[in-house]
Subunit: 423 residues, 2 copies
């Protein structure tokens, strides 16, 4: 079944609001194995609306239209729907009564312009909106079934889930199930992972698993979209592919599905009853900011120290001035971690110190990143060098620091070559 979505409204078209209704609808449809083939965004403009309805009515089996059901003059959906289908607008007495009731229950008189919301195309099937005055409706235009939904998100959500999706599923015939499996990695570029995973799709029969990526530096999301008749079949098809992906990406997979790196770190810390002391320099709070505010972090996050001049650590951690003043080295980095842990009375310390290149920001501006993780028993160390400008270095250092800590907590090697570093 080919489904299209048409989002209407000047606010969405001009970018005044971000169109979260579209991604919400699209995601909900994917969740039940339906997929959207085409999305259209048009303003509160008669001609564009008519054209959008006509185009979709020729291409699609089902169309969800969002917005334009309100009481004001720029709400045009019912009017243009009637025009596109070549039918009249007719007052729906039942909806009018419902609206009058809606207002009187709130001790208000219904303003006259709300009457417009009960004017529906003659062939429309009413779709109930129990929490608002915008009347949803369905009707045929051309070869497609159109579903008209309100722009107010909470009204849309309820109508889509309770009314529109069941109608779509009933019409869809083949009830195929679709499932999305996601792996989040850090340290390997998209093309590298693409090459590493060459051929994994063939481990599932008949092209039922499709590999895709979403890069958002410094993280990469590897996605497997699986189709089957039901979740059992989906799981069977996915199994060999996901096992192979885990094997090939190995330690680089830091989280799966809805997990985040910081969530994984927090969960592992909580499980191990770890408490954390953190020291950072140029990342200037960005590492603390990833984890410290999460629910449950109050039991893990003991103390974070941010300094821009390493010499400050003399005073904060009681370290010798002379070591801090010179070039950084492994010994000093580890000493900072040990001192930070002891001072905070934490089980673990994570230290991410950065020597920035001199001069102004530029594309090959770099930083040398010195990472140490200390417990009472041992210290792990990682040195890296990242180029690509101030922001790139900072984002990379935050991720590398957190990922080293994840690896440490999971007993994986902290040092493993990544694509983004120059060694």
């Amino acid at each position: 079944m080919r489904i299209e979505i048409i989002c209407t409204g000047d606010e969405v078209l001009t970018g005044k609001i971000v169109n979260t209704n579209f991604s919400y609808m699209s995601q909900k449809l994917e969740d039940v194995g339906l997929s959207v083939h085409w999305g259209t965004t048009v303003g509160d403009d008669r001609e564009s609306l008519l054209q959008a309805f006509q185009l979709a009515s020729q291409r699609a089996d089902a169309v969800i239209v969002n917005g334009g059901l309100g009481p004001t003059v720029d709400d045009l959906s019912q009017e243009v729907a009637a025009q596109a289908a070549g039918v009249d607008l007719v007052l729906n007495e039942e909806w009018l009564a419902k609206m009058e009731d809606f207002f009187s229950k709130r001790s208000r008189i219904m303003p006259p312009n709300n009457r417009k919301q009960a004017m529906l195309p003659a062939t429309a099937e009413v779709i109930d909106n129990p929490i608002g005055t915008a009347c949803g409706f369905a009707m045929d235009i051309g070869r497609a079934r159109f579903f008209f939904t309100p722009g107010v998100p909470r009204e849309l959500h309820r109508m889509l889930e309770q009314q529109v999706i069941p109608r779509l599923l009933a019409r869809s015939g083949a009830p195929t199930t679709i499932f999305l499996k996601r792996f989040h990695s850090y340290g390997l570029g998209e093309s590298h992972v693409d090459a590493l995973l060459s051929g994994v799709e063939e481990l599932a029969p008949d092209g039922s698993v499709k590999l895709g990526f979403r890069a958002h530096y410094p993280q990469l999301e590897t996605k497997l979209v699986v189709r089957g008749t039901d979740m059992d079949e989906v799981r069977r098809k996915l199994q060999p592919v996901q096992t192979e992906v885990r094997k090939r990406l190995g330690n680089f997979i830091m989280a799966e599905d809805d997990q985040t790196l910081e969530g994984v770190v927090l969960a592992a810390s909580t499980e191990q009853q770890a408490t954390l002391a953190l020291v950072e320099t140029f990342t200037s709070g960005h590492i603390a900011a990833r984890i410290g505010h999460l629910p449950g972090a109050e039991h893990v996050f003991r103390r974070g120290i941010v300094v821009r001049d390493r010499a400050e650590l003399h005073d904060v951690l009681g370290l010798p001035r002379v070591a801090l003043a010179g070039e950084l080295d492994q010994e000093t980095t580890e000493a900072v971690a040990r001192a930070a842990r002891t001072r905070a009375g934490a089980t673990h310390a994570l230290v991410v110190l950065i020597d920035l290149d001199a001069g102004a920001d530029r594309i090959d501006f770099g930083g040398t990143i010195w990472i140490a993780i200390a417990t009472g028993e041992k210290v792990a160390f990682r040195r890296s060098r990242i180029l690509g400008g101030r922001d790139w270095v900072r984002l990379g250092a935050v991720e590398l620091g957190l990922d080293c800590f994840r690896r440490f907590l999971q007993d994986l090697p902290v040092v493993e070559r990544i694509d983004f570093e120059k060694t």
Copy 2:
């Protein structure tokens, strides 16, 4: 000029990511007086892409296509563009060399599949992407000029602003000069500011100044779009309006145009040779993260302390346990600021402490925010209560803390009622 936007990619079509690129582009075009007439979203699918390009090429004068320029098999924009225009794909040697250089500067070998990014339609005009390997390009398809841009937001932003918009303006005919004046405020809601600024547009003749807003909690951007024949006329028309806006919004204007709150704070600190000690709790590094990494912050940002349990401040700052353990009050907050300043040997201390409500996150979850700013001579204090869920409280506290510090540095009252607080 009729402009359309085509967003490509399965992630966007399936709702896995919210399409912020669309609203970004649309808004940037609105800002310079151009408007988008139609938006289309399609997946990484040859047939849909071709159909979308063809439809837009018949309707529009200019089309911006976003996404599909990457190195992987699902990136199809160049290929389908060539097909739609009926031209061949040709290797662009210059872009290939540029990519090889891009990789070698990062001490990496270019993977073979990146070569695909240098295959462009024969009639394409290259549009530079100084920060990525995706090559932007422009070409005619049908009656429209198409502009192909990368899906990675920071690459898109730079390319749109520096390359695409100037080309669009040059094509748009009407040689009017358009200028966008922006005011950034914190603490007043959009409808409040709209009411405060009622009538300001009329201070300029013939509707040449248009007032608009963009709310992105906790900040509000107030925009004046001015049209004139040249910059002299634009400045003349803008003058009385911007003077009135500054007068009516007063101390709430924290930055203008490309300035940011943190940039204003850093500039004022630098000018006053101030150095900063920072203490934060639930904001957990988010305040430090706004300012500490900025160029020049190394001379201002002395030390940041992040704790989740206030009792830690006993050890870190040598404050009495008993004061920290009880309910917070003005005296304790000010004592923390004085101690933080003295300990760090800084000229100023900013302290933002938060008492969170108990229980799980919910829409009326709130926090009480205790702010103190200390110098050697004086201490300023501000207490606020913000409701709206954990994230809302955290975001509000970061902004309120930084804005209080801005007010302090600018000799403005630190306490002035804001719309977001419950007192």
